[in-house]
């Protein structure tokens, strides 16, 4: 117990993948850990690893000689719980419903997001999250390797690719509907408890939802399915605003040489929604301006053509005058 208190007093550092798409980290395994630490109000430093996209050790939380890797004891969150460093699930971790919801998110939704990032889309999101800081040849080879291993993991082959895709999306839809029903209008997944406290379930789902909403392209099927559940989208955005956007301006600088892009990204993201409205206004303004100009042009032409006769005579006189002058 002394050790764990000592460890809590030592500053924790979370090593995750780089920030992008307006999120402090856009990697599906790193963002839930970040949100979990934020929900627990634990202060920590953020450090980025830009050169190891295929490592299963990342994300990890460390402080001097203590490390909680992602590929041990069921993940970083589980390691932190077991080592008594951060535990939000003490009241719920034995409730069967909580466990099965948690398992559903960690299998169906996690697989769906994995599929969407690597196989279902053109890979531009994955490239930006994982390979944008590696030299091109290395990034390309690692990307192809990862696509292959994801297909192996999800059991996708040339023959069953369509069937598997359908199955993955169907399961994701079922999961979203169930979660939407379970959440209702609450601020956290409560499991019929009297007290509304966040648990790791919230952290994992918020992480999944934010990446699905912001990191995937607009044409993504999975994103479309999530957007159908309005209360889930509201829930994710609300926590994003509370945890990520406000925190980004107050938390300490990350311990890496990569300049912190959090604040600028979040401000650009808040601007993006007004931007969408502005472009609508702009479009209508431009349309009106175009009509106005066209009508003006028409009026001028009509004026000129109507007065064209008198103009011509005037022009002739002018010519005649000129002729006189000339002579």
């Amino acid at each position: 117990m002394d050790e764990s208190i000592q460890r809590e007093q030592q500053r924790l550092t979370l090593v995750s993948r780089k920030p992008c798409f307006g999120l402090p980290t856009a990697c599906p395994s790193c963002l839930p850990v970040y949100i979990y630490l934020k929900l627990a109000n634990v202060s920590f430093d953020l450090c980025y690893n830009l050169t190891f996209p295929d490592s299963d050790q990342i994300p990890y939380v460390d402080s001097d000689t203590y490390v909680a890797y992602n590929n041990e004891k069921g993940g970083v969150i589980e390691s932190l719980k077991e080592d008594n460093i951060v535990n939000l699930d003490s009241e719920v971790q034995n409730l069967p419903e909580w466990v099965s919801t948690s398992a559903m998110i960690n299998s169906w939704l996690s697989d769906a997001l994995l599929y969407e990032l690597w196989v279902g889309s053109d890979g531009s999101s994955a490239h930006k999250i994982y390979y944008s800081d590696l030299p091109w040849p290395i990034g390309k080879v690692l990307y192809l390797k990862q696509v292959y291993s994801v297909k192996q993991l999800l059991g996708i082959s040339k023959d069953n690719s369509e069937r598997r895709e359908e199955e993955i999306y169907r399961r994701a839809t079922i999961a979203y509907k169930a979660l939407s029903t379970k959440l209702g209008e609450d601020s956290f997944f409560s499991d019929n408890r009297q007290v509304f406290k966040p648990t790791s379930l919230d952290a994992i789902f918020i992480g999944h939802a934010l990446i699905t909403l912001y990191a995937l392209p607009e044409t993504s099927v999975l994103r479309g399915k999530l957007l159908e559940q309005a209360n889930l989208v509201k829930y994710a955005d609300k926590h994003k605003a509370e945890l990520l956007d406000s925190a980004s301006s107050s938390s300490s600088d990350p311990l890496s040489s990569v300049p912190r892009r959090g604040p600028s990204n979040s401000s650009s993201k808040t601007k993006s929604q007004p931007k969408r409205e502005r472009t609508q206004e702009e479009k209508s303004f431009r349309r009106k301006a175009k009509y106005f100009l066209i009508t003006q042009m028409v009026a001028v032409l009509v004026f000129l053509s109507l007065l064209g006769g008198s103009d011509d005579t005037e022009a002739d006189d002018a010519d005649a005058d000129e002729g006189f002058d000339y002579e």
Binding site: T51, D64, T65, V67, P135
Partner: protein, 520 residues
């Protein structure tokens, strides 16, 4: 004409006498010979020949005998392209005297042999066409290797490797007729290194003066015990220039650092991942010592410079690494004794934006320690007797894993050695023969030595705390004596080492130790 009927002997270039006979045929007036042949007795013929040879010898040694090469004929090359052979015998065509021609022919023969694609090479000087006096035809006869495939197993040291390795290789000679040598090799090194590589060497590539070599290799090094990481590297290296003293090579490799043990310390954890290494390496070497296994006279100097970050991609590793090594051996005049002294140093620093704050790349750093003798290993600061491999310098505690036993709470933690950016080593070694004759005959001798070294970190603003006193304190030293047994393959030493000065976490031990080195 009579002279055409006379047999034209084939010659080995070392035998000047036979070549003189050829010169004789071209030089002398054939009418004279006709007249002399009318006197038939064999003894008188022999005397006349001898007199003639003496005369020619005298002429050759005293005056310049003019001669011009009319034509060069190449025979025996079924696969090899003529251009390759012609490139090696360029000098023959421009010879203007007999002496020059002989010298050029010797050199051309040696160069053709060095291509390593012929079983035998013969250069014959024949008389030129009869209507052109004072000319000669040169005939180059080569016999191509019947078996283009050769295999070999041996113990080698490569200049890049810091220790020796057991290597097996297969060579395929002259596949396309351009003198190309293809080889594939598998090697396993003393420091847990294993490498699979394939290479090609071209003697003539686009008019470059020296052979060009290209090598693709997959290298794997295991440093888990010392620094908790494993290094894997897939690389392409091009040898651009390689002469006796200069060597220029370009290397492009994809390097990955991993930690399968999951026990790495903090600094090592932050360095794991992939990297693209693109560097140009220039080595200048001059070795005037009389022996590499037991130098007793002479000096040697090696300077290696590496410039990393040449790939157009700004994300490749950028650094400058410079190391040098200076040795001197002074003979003491008794019992084949000699005093060997040496000093070596190296510095590494990154360049690019914010280079002061960034750490250097872990595998490129300097590491001191190990069991190799400083007398034999030439090539930068590497060894310090008495200290284990990678046994000194900046270190950090490894990860602590909570176990059920009490041992987890103890203070004795394993440490990772991180290497340093500035390394300096110096040594002095007095070697001498032992009084027993049987030991003297097998070259077994004794030595007494003293060495000192220091390894420090410069980057990440450490240089701000740098002070001369602190630097002096960072030196470690050891001294001792021992017995050296040189064998054909390597040099074995049995030493008693006493550590004079070490730092708290260094891995050093006072006592008897064995050391193996291979001459580099």
């Amino acid at each position: 004409m009579v002279e055409e009927d006379k047999p034209i002997p084939e010659i080995d270039e070392d035998e000047e006498e036979s070549s003189n006979r050829d010169e004789e045929e071209e030089e002398d007036d054939f009418d004279d010979e006709d007249e002399e042949e009318s006197v038939v007795t064999p003894e008188s013929r022999m005397r006349a020949e001898k007199a003639r040879m003496d005369g020619v010898f005298r002429r050759l040694s005293s005056e310049r005998v003019p001669l011009r090469v009319h034509d060069v004929l190449i025979k025996g090359n079924k696969k090899t392209k003529e251009s390759i052979i012609e490139a090696e015998i360029e000098a023959l065509k421009t010879a203007t005297s007999v002496q020059e021609l002989l010298q050029a022919a010797t050199i051309a023969n040696a160069r053709l042999q060095k291509l390593d694609i012929f079983d035998s090479v013969n250069i014959t000087l024949d008389s030129g066409p009869p209507e052109l006096p004072g000319t000669s035809n040169v005939i180059v006869e080569v016999v191509e290797s019947k078996n283009p495939l050769t295999g070999d197993i041996g113990i080698f040291t490569k200049p890049e490797a810091r220790s020796w390795s057991l290597e097996g290789s297969l060579k395929f000679k002259n596949l396309f007729g351009y003198g190309d040598l293809w080889d594939g090799s598998l090697s396993y090194g003393w420091d847990q290194t294993s490498e699979v590589s394939a290479g090609i060497s071209l003697p003539r590539f686009m008019r470059l003066l020296t052979p060009v070599m290209a090598r693709v290799s997959l290298l794997s090094q295991d440093w888990l015990k010392f620094s908790s990481y494993k290094e894997q590297s897939l690389g392409l290296s091009l040898g651009l220039l390689s002469t006796r003293n200069h060597d220029l090579a370009y290397n492009l490799s994809w390097r990955t650092l991993t930690d399968p043990s999951q026990m790495a310390s903090k600094s090592i954890r932050r360095q794991l991942g992939h990297g693209l290494l693109s560097h140009l390496k220039y080595t200048f070497k001059i070795d005037k010592r009389n022996s590499t296994l037991r130098p007793t006279k002479g000096f040697a100097f090696v300077s290696g410079s590496q410039l990393g970050g040449l790939f157009p991609d700004y994300r490749s590793l950028r650094f400058i690494r410079q190391e040098f090594d200076l040795r001197y051996a002074l003979p003491l005049g008794f019992a084949r004794a000699a005093l060997n002294v040496g000093v070596a140093g190296g510095v590494l620093f990154p360049w690019g934006s914010e280079f002061m704050n960034r750490p250097t790349s872990l595998p490129d750093r300097f590491f001191l320690g190990g069991n190799s003798s400083p007398v034999c290993t030439l090539g930068g600061p590497t060894s310090l007797l008495g200290f284990k491999t990678r046994g000194l310098g900046p270190s950090e505690p490894k990860r602590e894993v909570k176990t059920n036993s009490e041992a987890a709470n103890s203070d004795v933690g394993e440490r990772d050695f991180l290497g340093g950016d500035l390394a300096v080593t110096a040594f002095a070694d007095l070697s001498f023969d032992l009084p027993l004759k049987v030991l003297r005959d097998s070259n077994i001798h004794a030595h007494a030595f003293a060495c000192a070294g220091s390894l420090t970190k410069l980057t990440e603003n450490s240089f701000r705390d740098f002070s001369f006193q602190k630097y002096k304190d960072s030196f470690r030293s050891s001294a001792g004596f021992g017995l050296i047994v040189p064998t054909k393959l390597f040099r074995m030493e049995v030493n008693y080492c006493y550590i004079l000065r070490q730092h708290e976490h260094d891995r050093a031990k006072t006592g008897v130790q064995f050391s193996f080195s291979s001459p580099m």
